[in-house]
């Protein structure tokens, strides 16, 4: 690993994607990427008794699919990185109880997936591990209840609010050559522009995403044209516009730019400004974008997962929402 600038790691040793898996709920399956996901449920309960168990089931499905694709068993995994949105990251902790692998629990809200992948890549690159599993999950009903209102409460939502993606994504990385490798990771700084509205997280997260993207391009000395696409996690329709403006102030006009929260749903679905949640960047990246890389339509991409580090208690105490964004770049080997 070579450190570039202050925040970016460039991986010299091979870090390849061995396998990836995704599981989603009903609204995600109905969306434009519906056929890209490995496991789809037509019900938020996913065959379980409650939503917490349903979320755990999604993580289990995603991990099992990723392991199967990597042709590995859980005993062969050296370390497991996981995170989710629930208090005490219960989905990850309780799932880790099942698989018996040394485990790091992470929380960076919806940026957790790239935080985990960056750390996992560092372990593989530095030969501290050979195979590392990373997984994240989120569930619409568990997250809405915790961060906003329980859905049974029936509170009105403004158009700027986002809709938590029900799903889970898992990925196994290792040294065996597979064609798609992880080359760099830029670790973000916490940014807070004073937004206090849990119904406008896109605007809150845009400054963190802008900072990480500009830092990544500066520290790697790359132009944005180096990437076929730059993807953000869950800025949604509101936050994406703000990101473009903020990046433009630094002299960069984003050309090939997408947002997972916008990609995952059709505009006519009842999701307000778009998708959010820890699973949002995970299922879109692992389910859709990696397949685009495999087929050669994307050769290099930068995924910037954005996280609103929102705590309902802090909001009640009139605090604003600190946000973070972590970036990981993926390259296809010809």
């Amino acid at each position: 690993m070579e450190r570039r600038g202050k925040q970016t790691w460039h991986f010299h040793n091979p870090v390849y994607i061995q396998g990836a898996g995704t599981a989603v709920g009903p609204e995600e399956a109905k969306g434009p990427l519906g056929d890209r996901f490995d496991v789809c449920y037509d019900n938020l309960y996913a065959g379980e008794d409650n939503w917490e168990l349903a979320e755990r089931r999604l993580m289990k499905d995603a991990v099992e699919t990723a392991l199967k694709q990597a042709e590995k068993k859980s005993e062969e995994i050296d370390y497991f990185f996981a995170g989710d949105l629930l208090n005490q990251i219960v989905t990850s902790n309780y799932y880790a109880r099942e698989i018996d692998v040394p485990y790091f629990g992470l929380f960076s809200a919806c940026a957790t997936v790239m935080e985990g992948l960056a750390l996992a890549s560092l372990l593989v690159d530095t030969k501290a591990a050979q195979l590392v599993l990373t997984a994240v999950s989120s569930h619409n009903a568990t997250a809405e209840r915790q961060f906003r209102y329980p859905t049974e409460f029936g509170g009105q939502r403004p158009d700027s609010s986002t809709f938590t993606v029900t799903g889970a994504g898992a990925i196994v990385i290792g040294t065996k050559q597979t064609g798609i490798k992880i080359t760099d990771a830029t670790i973000g700084k916490v940014k807070d522009f004073g937004i206090k509205q849990p119904f406008d997280m896109g605007s809150a997260m845009a400054p963190a995403a802008a900072d990480t993207i500009v830092t990544h391009l500066n520290e790697t000395k790359r132009d944005q044209s180096y990437y076929d696409v730059i993807v953000t996690g869950d800025l949604s329709r509101v936050g994406s516009g703000i990101l473009r403006k903020l990046v433009q102030e630094k002299g960069i006009t984003l050309e090939r730019y997408e947002d997972c929260g916008v990609m995952i749903y059709h505009q006519e679905q009842p999701v307000f400004a778009g998708g959010s949640g820890a699973a949002c960047p995970a299922v879109v990246t692992f389910g859709h974008l990696l397949k685009e890389m495999k087929s050669g339509r994307i050769k290099r991409m930068l995924v910037v997962a954005t996280g609103a580090l929102l705590s309902p208690l802090m909001i009640q105490q009139k605090e604003s929402i600190p946000c973070i964004a972590h970036a990981v770049s993926f390259e296809r080997e010809e």
Binding site: L44, W51, N140, A141, Y149, T151, E152, F153, G155, Q156, P158, Q197
Partner: protein, 117 residues
């Protein structure tokens, strides 16, 4: 016919105020609800809410403001009869039907249905 129009306009105005508290005032649903209840109670303190009910009927009794009005009404009438402690006794006198039916029906719904999401 005039009764219908009056009920529609008055009920609509109360709801409009509530929506503005949420959209423009950025109040949470719970704060909005409490504000309207307190508003109804204050209006009744000046004997204005009864006049509004005479004028608009259900337009004034159905919105949540009438809950505040009922709280004050019960407290005042019991206060007249039993003095200071009557206020405490009377607060839930008129509203108790509404509160106990809320508890009962929530209980029944929770037994028979499962939230979909």
């Amino acid at each position: 016919m005039f009764d219908y129009v009056a009920a529609f306009v008055v009920g609509g105005v109360i709801c409009f105020i509530g929506q503005m508290l949420m959209d423009v005032g950025k109040l949470s649903p719970t704060h909005t609800l409490s504000t309207l209840v307190v508003g109804g109670a204050l209006l009744d303190g000046f004997h204005l809410y009864d006049r509004l009910i005479d004028f608009a009927g259900a337009g004034a009794t159905v919105p949540i403001t009438s809950f505040g009005h009922s709280l004050v009404h019960g407290a005042m009438s019991e206060g007249d009869r039993y003095g200071f402690f009557g206020i405490g006794m009377g607060v839930f006198e008129v509203t108790s039907v509404g509160i106990s039916s809320t508890i009962l029906f929530s209980f029944l719904v929770a037994i028979f249905f499962k939230p979909k999401g």
